[in-house]
């Protein structure tokens, strides 16, 4: 159950942090790891799996904002424990430093080592709770300028969209004070939903899934208790029904396939009135994770047509339609489509008056790319792209088999497809004048959003 070493490497393989807990792995493990990850060819897979064994040493890694977080061990440990630990270490360090990048690491290496000594002892995880750690950590973070920060978490997406969102607030350290020396009393609750949809070539939905998280970050002093009320018609478990028989979404409320909760959450009244109570620890943490395969209305409809036009030419038409209300605006949207690999040229035609749109044909990867800037996609809107393709050779057989599928990435702030809601957020505190800022924010993001052609 223990690890031997923990280290963080930059994208170039530089040692940023290195801590050996058990002196049982030979020197050079960082180089061995980096070489293996960079030149992973064993199975022809370009991307190394998160766990591998070299010369009797097991290497685990996760990538966070382009940095490798790595652990080594010689024993038969629980791999999910180690990988989860690596993610948590990244989160704890981010809680302390405010932002996570090479620069903030280097500026705070003493603090990072202090943290690592409390998080792991002799290779055993002790705690990854920012709250608990606060009692043992004495170094103060040196916060790097948020201007050049690279956000780690989905919460950062709020910074792009909406002026109302104090997006930078979530990138401040949980221990550092604001310049004024006073901490602002505030709490963030983010409902983040990543959706995966696969449309068949005829446009109907093959699979759809929502992976949701209620993420919390509290800057409240005195750790007051919080009550979070969710939809009253929330149901958990599909009662043994398989994914095949979708229940019609008529009025049966929000049905989650499965969910789990942070350890601080008490579920005493969850069964009766769907409220969660908790004393939020410091730092960012998921209050609840949930998964849903209940049918929902996909935010975008994609229509693709590819037609031959002579022996060496074809035309592609991609049409996207926003299926959400008109007061909602989607953020930067990218549509991608692999073209047949004998495509030599593609010329694009946007609809008249189209603004904030960009098209590109990536010659090397034969990829069509269509970017739509924010604000250009308002709920209910529809956009079309026409592309004329020129081939370097005659295509054989079925052209639709050699192009596609069309995939989309997007972010839609203040919108969630599951209809799961935080009805209210109650902060228990005696004083009537105490009224901290409460931010409840929704966002929907594409995970794997694919239309086959």
């Amino acid at each position: 159950m223990m690890i031997s070493q923990f280290f963080v490497l930059s994208q170039r393989g530089d040692n940023i942090v290195f801590r050996d807990y058990r002196a049982e792995v030979p020197k050079g493990s960082t180089e061995t790891f980096f070489r293996k990850v960079k030149f992973w060819k064993e199975d022809g897979n370009a991307e190394a799996p998160p766990i591998f064994n070299v010369d009797g040493v097991n290497y685990f890694h996760v990538k966070v904002v382009g940095l490798y977080f790595v652990a080594t061990t010689r024993v038969n440990v629980s791999p999910s424990l180690v990988l989860e630990l690596l993610q948590r270490i990244a989160r704890v360090i981010k809680d302390y430093l405010g932002v996570l990048n090479e620069d903030s690491f280097r500026k705070n290496f003493v603090l990072v080592y202090e943290l690592l000594d409390e998080v792991i002892d002799f290779g055993y995880v002790q705690t990854t709770s920012t709250e608990v750690l606060k009692s043992y950590i004495f170094n103060e973070p040196i916060v790097v300028a948020p201007a050049r920060l690279q956000p780690i978490d989905p919460a950062a997406i709020f910074t792009q969209g909406n002026k109302r969102m104090p997006g930078t607030a979530v990138t401040k350290s949980v221990v550092a004070n604001d310049p004024g020396g006073r901490r602002r009393e505030e709490i963030f609750v983010d409902i983040i939903e990543k959706i995966s949809v696969t449309f068949s070539s005829s446009g109907y939905i093959l699979t759809s899934e929502i992976d949701g998280t209620i993420q919390m970050k509290s800057y409240l002093s005195g750790n007051p208790e919080i009550r979070l009320a969710l939809n009253e018609d929330l149901n958990i478990g599909r009662g043994g029904r398989s994914v095949y028989d979708y229940r019609s979404s008529s009025g049966s409320g929000v049905i989650l396939d499965d969910c789990n909760f942070h350890e601080s959450v008490r579920l005493d009244s969850f069964d009766s009135d769907r409220t969660l109570s908790l004393v939020p620890p410091d730092g960012e943490f998921p209050v609840m994770n949930y998964r849903m395969t209940q049918e929902f209305k996909p935010p975008f409809h994609v229509n693709t047509l590819i037609e031959e036009a002579g022996r060496l030419k074809a035309e592609v038409i991609i049409k996207i339609r926003a299926e959400f209300p008109s007061d909602i605006i989607a953020n930067t949207i990218t549509v991608q489509m692999p073209l047949p690999n004998y495509t030599s040229r593609a010329s694009f035609e946007l609809e008249p008056g189209a603004a904030g749109q960009r098209t590109d044909f990536k010659e090397s990867s034969k990829m069509l790319e269509w970017n739509l800037k924010k604000a250009s996609i308002v709920g209910g809107g529809e956009h079309t792209l026409r592309a004329k393709l020129t081939f370097s050779q005659e295509f054989h057989g079925n052209i639709t088999k050699e192009a596609g599928p069309v995939s989309m990435t997007f972010t839609i702030p203040m919108y969630n497809v599951s209809k799961l809601q935080v009805k209210y957020l109650q902060i228990a505190k005696k004083s009537s004048s105490y009224n901290p800022y409460r931010w409840v924010r929704y966002v929907t993001q594409a995970n794997s959003y694919v239309a086959r052609i």
């Binding site: 159950m1 040692n15 290195f18 049982e24 792995v25 020197k27 022809g44 897979n45 991307e47 190394a48 799996p49 998160p50 064994n53 010369d55 009797g56 996760v62 010689r74 024993v75 038969n76 440990v77 629980s78 791999p79 999910s80 990988l83 280097r106 500026k107 290496f109 003493v110 603090l111 080592y113 202090e114 000594d117 002892d121 002799f122 055993y124 995880v125 002790q126 709770s129 004495f138 103060e140 093959l206 994914v243 095949y244 396939d257 499965d258 969910c259 789990n260 909760f261 350890e263 998921p286 994770n289 998964r291 057989g397 079925n398 088999k401 050699e402 995939s407 794997s448 694919v450 086959r452």
Partner: protein, 890 residues
């Protein structure tokens, strides 16, 4: 604090060390703290700042915790290299361990435990004893882990000072964090000890199950894993345990969920009620699926585990196949695993959906993924008879897209489909033949040729098709040549006309005269003789009905599967290999005898990786069994490269013999085109075996394994054929091949060389050299009466006595030595003292009943072993000395 830490990284122009030294001795606290930070910064980038040891230690006495921690960090790094100076720190450590501030007490104990210097360790015991009973839980939990640290340095001390008892008491501590650490420490100590230290009984079970509810997430994992070793007494207890553990499935931490799953699966084995089982399966499905919503890295672990779980309990996820459909943005390592599970879950009910997915994947960009998707279609066809036709039509559709590697992959799987459903789908052969010219991969070519030969009578122009391949016969890879040979013979037997007759002449000529591949030549000669003596018999042989192949998607051997399932949520379940195949953490206790009086001396604990080169070289071999050495008389460069003369390099996979020792690698994967063979002669129940582990690290299936031993000094030969199942890429198989002696004796001087040839259907023949380990040949009836021993000794001339000294071998106790030797059929006759040396006499019997008399002289605990043997066949003495070396280093 002023400025940024990164400024400490900036180097000064000249004399960095003296400058730091000056700053460390500054009268200003802040300056000193800054200086220590600079030292640590230099340390982390790999600069040697050990010369500042005294100056840094001088900063240790401070109230400032921040500074104290930095000094401690420095000490952990450098105390080892400055053991004499480390003593300077002892006083402060001891003082700190009594500090009123619990953080300082804990810090002192934690740090002392990390310093592996005897002088520090000596002073650790008293503070540790106090800290284990400290009022503050933070101190107690730190002390609990410190016991494991001490055990690692000096196990004896832990037992003598009663730390184990104190640790066991902590299981009942009222603080769950302390309990979790005590459990973790005990589990580690148990792992490295043969005596029962931490056994879970029903009392500890209850305690731990209660603690489980209050523990931190990580503590829950420690506890669940410790409990997973517990075997419930009866179904009712199993049900009770499961009931207590099931709520953990709702945890947000994936490690907790998987550990809970492991525990439940284990207890399910005992539960008899089908209702309970069904209910549990239902409860486990959603959390398992939820793991696939985690980060891709965690998904990978979950998928590898699910792969095992569905093999054992297919019902759990039978209805969830959709969640295993690949997402567009899944990393390739996740996609590949999802495909495997989709095949396993494919059924008549969902096959249409599954095929639709596979078809889509087969047109994606990543070549490996595409190939795997095509293979998956084939595997479904073989698995589901009723869906075979649909699978084939999808394959044909794919062939029509004419993407070269898709076509080739499709042909390979279609060959398998033909073997599974003979005489059913020949109608598609015409379509396949259209792609003949584009085939350029050996496996695809060989498959196509096989199809042509097999159905030669139904293909009008089979002779022309084969002829087109024959032109390049000499240039083709062995795999293709073999198929061409057989296919031509089949063609000739089916259509004995002039054309095929000429072809067969050409092929046989090519395959007998023009080739130096013994397989091809041998097969050609057999055909030739068959055809020339009795063509009808040839028909019976060559055109005989072949056994129908079966679905191999559940390819794990049931016993291995059970072992892996017991290891759910460990690395073992990710690699799909038993732990002993890859865990190389050096253990000394494996060979430890049960003897109560056995003193665990300095050798307990792990050899330092940074030890001096000589020790370093010997110790891993001494602990993990002997590692591959270059085969004896013929120096083998590759063997040398692979060998473990370097302590740091331990083979990736160390397969083990039944006795727990890893098998030496005899054919490294680098040499065997991905096939790795580890093997050794072993003896079990009076029978000599060639114990082998074959690992297929290549990209393709390997089957048809055969083995041949060259003539050797003992006439060792295999009793029967090599029984190795077809190996999928990534799979491995272990086998014990029974051997006989005196079958094919070689002339010439006695030698330990054993030359082996292993072949399979896909690769060239591999030749490698192994070493005959003499002690595997000592027979069980080698015990001699004392009288007979003396008589035999005297009757043999002095010229039959051979001696050798082993300065590197240490006998730790007479008894354990005798046990060790007895295990290899060397029997104790007598013992005498010669000064402070012990002299042992033993007898053994080598093949053909030749007696072998042994005299060992050594001083217990001192290096140096003298070994004298007397035997009618002194020429085998060198082999015996090799055996001694192996046994004592093991």
């Amino acid at each position: 604090m002023s400025g940024h830490d990164s400024k400490y990284f900036s180097t000064t122009k000249k004399g960095e060390i003296p400058e730091l030294k000056e700053e460390l001795n500054s009268q200003y606290k802040d300056k000193r703290k800054d200086a220590v930070k600079k030292v640590i910064a230099a340390m982390t980038v790999g600069k040697d700042v050990s010369s500042l040891f005294t100056d840094v230690v001088n900063c240790m006495q401070t109230e400032n915790l921040e500074l104290k921690k930095l000094v401690y960090l420095y000490l952990i790094n450098y105390a080892k290299s400055q053991p004499d100076l480390a003593i300077l720190a002892v006083n402060t450590f001891v003082k700190d361990s009594q500090d009123p501030n619990p953080l300082i007490r804990a810090l002192a104990v934690r740090t002392m435990g990390c310093i592996r210097v005897d002088k520090i360790t000596e002073y650790l015991c008293d503070p540790l004893q106090k800290c284990l009973k400290d009022d503050d839980p933070y101190v107690r939990k730190t002390a609990a882990i410190c016991v494991a640290k001490l055990f690692d340095i000096n196990a004896e001390l832990v037992e003598d000072r009663g730390f184990l008892e104190a640790l066991k008491d902590l299981i009942s501590d009222n603080n769950p964090m302390v309990v979790a650490n005590a459990v973790a420490a005990l589990a580690e100590i148990q792992e490295n000890s043969t005596s029962p230290i931490f056994e879970i009984n029903s009392t500890t079970l209850t305690k731990l199950l209660t603690a489980l509810n209050e523990c931190t997430e990580w503590g829950q994992v420690f506890i669940l894993d410790a409990l997973s070793r517990y075997k419930a007494a009866d179904p009712r207890e199993a049900e009770n345990i499961v009931e207590r553990v099931t709520p953990r499935l709702q945890h947000a931490n994936c490690a907790v969920v998987l550990s809970a799953v492991k525990m439940i699966l284990q207890q399910m084995e005992l539960i008899t009620s089908t209702d309970v089982i069904r209910n549990l399966c239902k409860k486990m499905a959603p959390p398992l699926v939820t793991l696939l919503s985690a980060e891709p890295e965690i998904q990978y672990v979950a998928l590898r585990n699910i792969n095992l779980i569905v093999q054992k309990r297919p019902t759990i996820l039978a209805h969830e196949i959709k969640v295993f459909f690949c997402k567009y943005n899944d990393p390739i390592y996740v996609k590949m695993e999802k495909l495997e599970i989709m095949i396993k879950l494919a059924s008549d009910r969902n096959i249409d959906q599954v095929l639709l997915e596979f078809k889509e994947y087969a047109t994606e960009v990543d070549v490996d993924f595409v190939r795997k998707a095509v293979r998956a279609i084939g595997r479904c066809a073989i698995k589901l008879e009723r869906a075979a036709e649909r699978c084939i039509s999808v394959l044909l559709e794919l062939i029509k897209i004419k993407v070269n590697y898709v076509v080739q992959e499709a042909i390979i799987v279609i060959k398998d489909i033909f073997r599974r459903y003979p005489n059913t789908y020949e109608s598609i052969i015409a379509t396949l033949c259209e792609s003949l010219d584009t085939l350029d991969e050996p496996e695809a070519k060989a498959s196509m040729i096989w199809i042509i030969g097999e159905y030669a009578e139904r293909i009008d122009n089979a002779d022309e098709l084969l002829e087109s391949f024959l032109e390049n016969f000499p240039e083709e890879p062995a795999q293709v040549q073999l198929q061409l040979l057989t296919a031509t013979v089949k063609l000739f037997l089916k259509k004995p006309t002039e054309g095929p007759q000429q072809m067969i002449q050409v092929v046989l000529n090519n395959a007998t005269v023009e080739t130096d591949n013994p397989d091809l030549r041998d097969r050609a000669y057999i055909y030739w003789r068959l055809l020339s003596t009795d063509p009808e018999a040839a028909k019976d042989v060559v055109l005989a009905e072949k056994p129908v192949i079966t679905d191999d998607s559940n390819q794990l051997d049931p016993s291995l599967l059970d072992e892996l399932l017991a290891n759910i949520s460990t690395l073992s379940s990710v690699y799909h290999k038993p732990p002993e195949a890859f865990v190389t953490r050096l253990k000394t206790t494996v060979q430890k005898t049960e003897d109560e009086d056995y003193v665990e001396g300095s050798e307990t604990g792990y050899p330092e990786t940074s030890g001096n080169p000589v020790d370093g070289a010997a110790s891993p071999a001494a602990t993990t069994g002997y590692a591959p050495k270059p085969a004896a008389p013929v120096p083998d460069l590759l063997g040398d490269l692979m060998g473990s003369d370097n302590a740091a390099i331990v083979p990736v996979d160390e397969p083990t013999t039944p006795s727990g020792r890893p098998l030496p690698v005899v054919l490294p994967a680098s040499k065997g085109q991905g096939l790795q063979i580890s093997a050794q002669l072993t003896r079990q129940d009076g029978q000599v075996f060639y114990t082998m582990l074959l690992e297929n690290n290549s990209q393709s299936l390997l089957d048809g394994f055969m083995i041949q031993f060259n003539k050797n000094s003992f006439g060792l030969a295999a009793v029967g054929p090599l029984q190795v199942p077809p190996l999928q890429p990534g799979a491995s198989a272990r086998t014990m091949l029974p051997m006989v002696l005196s079958q094919n004796m070689s002339a010439g001087p006695t030698s330990s060389v054993l030359q082996v040839a292993v072949k399979n259907n896909q690769q060239p023949v591999w030749y490698f050299e192994d070493k005959i380990v003499l002690h595997a040949l000592f027979s069980e009836d080698g015990r001699m009466e004392r009288g007979t021993f003396l008589e035999t000794w005297r009757s043999l001339p002095d010229s039959n006595e051979v001696q050798k000294e082993f300065p590197g071998i240490i006998i730790t106790s007479v008894e354990s030595t005798l046990d060790l030797l007895a295990a290899s059929n060397m029997f104790f006759i007598a013992k005498r003292k010669n000064g402070n040396q012990d002299v042992l006499y033993l007898s053994a019997k080598v093949p053909r009943g030749i007696p072998f008399l042994i005299e060992l002289t050594a001083m217990v605990g001192q290096p140096g072993l003298k070994c004298a043997v007397k035997t009618p066949t002194p020429e085998i003495a060198p082999l015996f000395f090799e055996a001694v070396e192996i046994l004592f280093k093991a």
